[in-house]
C-alpha cells in the first residue's frame, strides 16, 4: 500500500465525459448559469455597439470619459454576472466533491472537473451573449466590428470565468471529504 508510483487518476476523456454528462443532466440548473452569463455578455456587446450613438449627445470633450465608463460598467456587469453564476455552480457540487474524494479523487481532479465545467459554460454563455448582444446592438442601429466583438465577448466570459472559478474551485478541491459532504447548500 502507498507506494509512490501508485496514484489515483482521472483520465482527461473521462473528465470531459463527466462534465458534459453533468451539464446535460442538470440542464435546468445549468441553464440559469448560462443565461446569467449570456445576459451579462449581451449587455456588454450591445453597449459596445451602441456606445457611439449614446455618446453622440454628450459634449465632445466628455466623450472619451463617457465611452470609458460605459465600457467599464459593461465589463463589471459581465464579470459580476459570470462570477456569481459560477459560484453557485460550484456550491452545488460540494456533496459530489466529498463523494468523489472518498473514492480516490485527488484535489487536482476536482479542480480540473470544476474548471472544465466553468470553461464550457463560459464559452457557451459568451457565444450566446455575443449573438444576442449583436442582435440588439444592430437592431437599434449601432455599429462596430463583429469579429472583434466576438473575440471580446468570449474572451471576457472565459477569462473572467476562469479567474473567478479558480479560487472557489481550489477551495472546494482541498476540502477534506467529510467537510465537503457536510456542506448544506
Amino acid at each position: 500500500m502507498g507506494k509512490s508510483e501508485e496514484k489515483t487518476v482521472l483520465p482527461f476523456g473521462e473528465a470531459i465525459y463527466m462534465v458534459l454528462h453533468s451539464i446535460r443532466l442538470r440542464l435546468g440548473r445549468i441553464l440559469v448559469v448560462i443565461i446569467a452569463i449570456t445576459a451579462s455578455i449581451a449587455y456588454m456587446v450591445s453597449l459596445d455597439l451602441l456606445s457611439r450613438i449614446l455618446a453622440s449627445s454628450i459634449p465632445p470633450n466628455g466623450v472619451g470619459i463617457y465611452l470609458f465608463l460605459l465600457d467599464l460598467t459593461a465589463f463589471i456587469v459581465a464579470a459580476a454576472g459570470t462570477m456569481n453564476s459560477l459560484l453557485i455552480m460550484i456550491a452545488e457540487r460540494y456533496h459530489e466533491i466529498g463523494t468523489m474524494k472518498s473514492f480516490g479523487a485527488r484535489d487536482i481532479h476536482i479542480f480540473e472537473l470544476l474548471m472544465i465545467e466553468a470553461l464550457i459554460l463560459t464559452i457557451i454563455g459568451g457565444f450566446l451573449g455575443y449573438l444576442i448582444g449583436l442582435g440588439i446592438g444592430y437592431g437599434l442601429g449601432g455599429s462596430g466590428d463583429p469579429v472583434f466583438l466576438l473575440g471580446k465577448a468570449i474572451g471576457v466570459a472565459v477569462l473572467i470565468g476562469l479567474i473567478s472559478a479558480s479560487y472557489p474551485s481550489y477551495q472546494a478541491a482541498r476540502m477534506s471529504p467529510v467537510e465537503a459532504l457536510r456542506v448544506e447548500v
Binding site: 500500500m1 509512490s4 496514484k7 443532466l25 459530489e96 474524494k101 473514492f103 480516490g104
Partner: protein, 254 residues
Amino acid sequence: MVEAQVKTELVPRRRKLEYVVEVMDVKKYYKLGKVIVKALDGVSFNVKRSEYVSIMGPSGSGKTTLFNMIGGLDRPTAGKIYIEGVDIAMLDAYELAWLRANTIGYIFQTFNLIPVLTALENVMLPMIFVGKPYDEAVEKAKKLLELVGLGRFIHHKPGELSGGQQQRVAAARALANDPAIILADEPTGNLDLVTGLKLINLLKKINTEQKVTVVTATHDLKMVDVSDRIIWIRDGRIEKIEMRRDIEAEVREE
C-alpha cells in the same frame, strides 16, 4: 539525526500486521461556539485481518465520526490510526487518495451516490480513479450490481431507486476495487428485514470467502449474529467489547 528520522518512519510500517486497523486513543472534539463537543473521547481497539466487527451505540455516540477517522476521511484531534500497519496521519495526498480508492470500501450512512450518474456509473467511479480500463470497469460493475440483486437496475439513477436499492448500489461501489477493509455505516439502516438480512449475509460472505475485514456501525441486532466482536460505544467512549461466543454463551445460560 538522519538515521533517527528514517527509523521513526519505518517503525509504524513494521507494526505487527495481524491487525489491519489499529485505533489508538483517538479523540475528536468539535468546537461549537464556547461548547466543546467530544464526539470521540479516547477510543482504542484493534481489528484483526478478516475479522467482522460491529460497532454498536445509540444515536450520537460517535459511530460515524469514528468511521470517518478510520477511513482517512477526516483527521482526529488526537490519537493515532494505523491501517495495515501504516499511520495514516503520515500519508501524503497521493497515498491517502490511493488508500481511499483501494484499501477501504465505504458504505455511507447517507449512501452518498452521485445523483446524475446511473447505478452502473456510480459503481464504476472508484475503478476509474484507479485507472482500470473502461470495459473491465463496466463488466466488474455489472457483476457487483448483480451480486447485490440490482442486475435489472443498472441504468437507473439514484433518484429512481428506493432507499434500500440505493444502499445496495453503495455496497456494490464499496466492493469495486476489492478493498481489504469494508467500512459500513449502518448498512441496513434503510432496509426491510429480508433485504437487510441479504446485505448482512453478503457482507459476511465476502468476509469469509475473500478474507475482507468488515467493520460496521449499526443498531441492527441481526448484525450480532455474524459479528466476531461487538464494540459498544456511548458518548464517544468504549463501553465494552464483547466476543460473539460470549454473547452466545450468555444466551444459552438464560
